[in-house]
Amino acid sequence: MNTASGFIKALESGTKHLFIKRFTLRYPEKKLKFDGDGYQFDPKRGVGIAGLRGRHILFHDKCTGCQLCSIACEGIAEAIGMVKIDEHWKQNKKNIMPQIDYGKCVFCGLCVDACPFYALYMTNDYELSSFTKSSLIYTPSQLAVKPRYDGDVEIKIDSKGANHG
């Protein structure tokens, strides 16, 4: 009679799930919380620091315009182009800084690994949708702004099953 017991156990397992809490994360209302503020790389120790690989952030006071990030991205997505900027920085002789085209970027973070001057990090912000492709190209000044991302929901596991808090 294992067919009958098979059916009954399946039905029982199905109805049991009617009382487990729903797992879906209701995205626009609640957003996931990430610890740390984005993926960073420490060129001296040659190892990265765990963090979400979202939109880049460029520190103008550290960037020397050495184009290493654009050379690193050449083989992958050609998303980083160097662009003239108007203000003049002491350490940036040629006054050029990376401009990232998020229509092409695959967020692999190899440009952050390639930057030897702690100038390019990644942040937690992943909401970059826009109406036109051209507005996906972020100029260095746009990259300098630290995005505000306030997610506060985490996966909680309790007797009533796992759910997004």
Partner: protein, 386 residues
């Protein structure tokens, strides 16, 4: 009178045309095409005689991106993001074998903690991939709950990946020389709680799916691949282990720290589509067991990566390394001639090797069996086309 004879001749001629039903009339060619809900990005043309499949002609190539040619234009680090795309859900394993091949070529060995982290990432990725494969297997058999549960529970592991590798699926985490970053601060407890809860969830699949008599009827005794034919066809992974050959690269040719881990190679002797669908499930439980061992054996501190120069030059020579990915043995054969770009990269993916078993198994089976046989081969079209 004459036109009467003409009419008679004409009628006679017409009746001649109605000939006996030839073999071609009986067969109906069906294209289980790239848009077909039952085949993913892959097409195979089947000739059906009534309910029986008579001839199968697989026609892959719809998602062929030429990864091997692309490898020849990029240096060893720039290859990582594009090489992880074919097995998108198993990205740690497909990069693992690439990194092993490059390290074998250059002759460096990865610090111990880096090896542990890389092994944990690849085991977690095996869970993510097998869950996704199990979900599609459920919907192929019309079991919508079996699609939703694995697709939902997979989120527990993807959340772990988000914490330490920064991305949900395309994490590009292992790199020639180790891993890109260390675990975040309280990763160990979170990983243990979520993996333990994940294993508790796995038990539910047995009640609703594997022990469901209807599922058993549809898969037991269907698509028999005997042991000798499995060996002769050179299939790999769960398809091979379901035919009674306990061959698992992690046990047979242990790479990194897999020789310190004890785990059983799950294999069954029934060689049918039920065994091929049950082995990945047992592998998942085994992987949870391995992750727990790895987590308490991991050295507390130590660096995770050997710093290699950005566009390092590969010494002339070649190397071939294999890794047990979610679907089977995934090998990289890298030939380098001293430049910073590999001269030739050959990716031998498990799906490409299992494709040969598809026509062997489908011929003679029923049309209703097509989804349960096809997807039990653990065939991932994107990985087979490369």
């Amino acid at each position: 009178m004459s036109n009467l004879e003409e009419k008679i001749d004409e009628a006679k001629k017409l009746s001649m045309q109605i000939v006996k039903e030839t073999e071609a009339d009986r067969l109906m060619t069906l294209s289980v095409g790239p848009q077909h809900p039952g085949s993913g990005h892959f097409r195979f043309v089947i000739k059906v005689d009534g309910d029986y499949i008579v001839n199968v002609d697989p026609d892959p190539g719809y998602v062929h991106r030429g990864h091997e040619k692309m490898c020849e234009y990029r240096n060893y680090f720039q290859n990582l993001p594009q090489l992880e795309r074919p097995a998108l859900h198993d990205s740690s394993n497909i990069l693992y074998s690439y990194c092993l091949a490059v390290e074998d070529l250059v002759g460096i060995n990865v610090p111990r903690r880096g090896q542990f982290i890389r092994a944990i990432a690849s085991e977690l990725d095996r869970l993510v991939y097998t869950q996704y494969w199990l979900a599609i297997y459920g919907i192929f058999l019309g079991h919508s709950t079996m699609f939703m549960w694995p697709a939902g529970d997979r989120e527990l592991i993807i959340d772990l990946f988000e914490r330490f590798s920064g991305h949900r699926v395309t994490h590009c985490f292992s790199i020639p020389g180790g891993v890109r970053n260390d675990f975040p601060y309280n990763f160990k407890e979170k990983c243990l709680t979520q993996v333990n809860y994940f294993e508790k969830r796995l038990k539910e699949y047995e009640h609703i799916f594997y022990n469901n008599p209807l599922f058993r009827q549809r898969t037991e005794g269907v698509g028999i691949l005997p042991k000798e034919d499995a060996i002769k066809l050179g299939v790999t992974g769960s398809v091979l282990r379901a035919s009674g050959v306990p061959y698992d690269i992690r046990k047979v040719e242990p790479y990194d720290i897999y020789d310190e881990i004890d785990f059983k190679v799950q294999h069954m002797k029934t060689c049918d589509s039920f065994a091929r669908s049950y082995i990945p499930y047992l592998d998942m439980i085994e992987s949870c067991h391995i992750i727990r061992q790895l987590l308490d054996k991991i050295p507390e501190s130590g660096d995770v990566r050997v710093k290699l120069q950005g566009n390092m030059k590969g010494p002339p020579g070649e190397s071939f390394k294999r890794v047990e990915s979610g679907r089977g043995a995934l090998g990289y054969h890298i030939v380098s001639d001293g430049a910073s770009r590999p001269y030739r990269v050959k990716i031998s993916t498990p799906s490409f090797r299992n494709l040969i078993a598809l026509s062997y198994l489908l011929v003679g089976s029923k049309l209703g069996d097509m989804p349960s046989i096809y997807w039990s081969l653990n065939y991932w079209p994107i990985e087979a086309d490369r």
